[in-house]
Amino acid sequence: MTADVGAQMRKGVVEYCVLGLLSREPMYGWQLAEALSDAGLIASIGTLYPLLGRLRDNGWVSTFDLPSESGPVRKYYRLTDSGTAQLVRFRVQWMPFARVVTGLVGEERP
């Protein structure tokens, strides 16, 4: 239960981080995996695709195919209107939530 606090937090926000990335531009799986790995939000690509499947099942993202310059067709993910609305709801709640939590737990001084 006390395992990895970071992992629990990441699990709670990673879906919204994907929505945030896709709000800038449509992206394909590898691009998303690199962006999320670099940010330390996922450990491997194995986490990403089940997550994308959930977002698609919720109707928050949709997919389309686009040929790549190197050959095979890539599957791109883009935000739907419903996904955009969900992201807006998250943004509205996130900052007050983060402030409240910071106020309660305090800040670690460097």
């Binding site: 450990a43 997550l51 095979p72 067709v73």
Partner: protein, 209 residues
């Protein structure tokens, strides 16, 4: 160059094979998504880039373990609701295979000579199935013979109109206007040249894929 391509294909096949084995107990939809996502990233790379990507991906068992943690086995998957856990996408590896694509191009080029008409259609279906060509390449390869046939038909029709309009009771034809028979012969020759040429072009487009 061919050696490099072959090495890339082998590395890709080996990695995807290990990944499929590691994901054998995952729900079909999840395993297929992961397999296809990685396959599309590894496709079209040379051996060096493929090896680098594979190193970046890490151990297939770790990928499968991470996915398993996200979707507990037995959990309903919306886009594959009742399918049992199975090896992902039986058709994807074949459609991705370079050997299959080469066979498809050859059947398209020469299948019609072995089994007239039907052979060509089999080749066309195989070409359409392969994922190694882009959509416009497949469309061009399949539709060009029809477009050429239509063009010949139009020329024949216009030629016959001109011939009948200029006929003034003299039985001989203007040698500058192709007769239907000339065009029929040229169209057969064209098909014999055009279709194998399309097959060759498809093979050429396969390089580095």
């Amino acid at each position: 160059m061919t050696d490099t391509d072959t090495d890339a294909d082998r590395l890709r096949r080996e990695f995807l094979g290990r990944l499929d084995a590691a994901m054998s107990d995952l729900p079909h939809g999840v395993a297929t998504e992961i397999h296809d996502g990685i396959a599309e990233e590894l496709g079209g790379l040379d051996a060096e880039s493929t090896a680098a990507r594979i190193a970046q991906l890490g151990d297939p068992r770790t990928i499968a373990r991470e996915a398993r943690a996200e979707v507990p086995v037995g959990a309903p998957i919306a886009h594959a609701p009742s399918e049992p856990a199975a090896r992902p996408s039986a058709k994807a590896p074949l459609a991705d295979s370079r050997g299959f694509a080469i066979a498809a191009a050859l059947v398209l080029a020469f299948g019609g000579f072995v089994v007239p008409v039907v052979g060509w259609f089999v080749g066309a279906v195989m070409v359409a199935t392969s994922s190694l060509w882009r959509r416009w390449e497949k469309a061009l390869a399949i539709l060009l013979p029809f477009a050429t046939g239509a063009l010949i038909a139009v020329i024949t029709w216009i030629g016959s109109l001109i011939a009948s309009a200029s006929a003034t009771g003299e039985p001989e034809h203007n040698p500058l206007i192709p007769s239907a028979l000339d065009l029929w012969h040229s169209s057969i020759l064209l098909v014999f040249i055009l279709i194998p040429a399309i097959g060759g072009w498809l093979l050429w487009r396969l390089r580095r894929r």
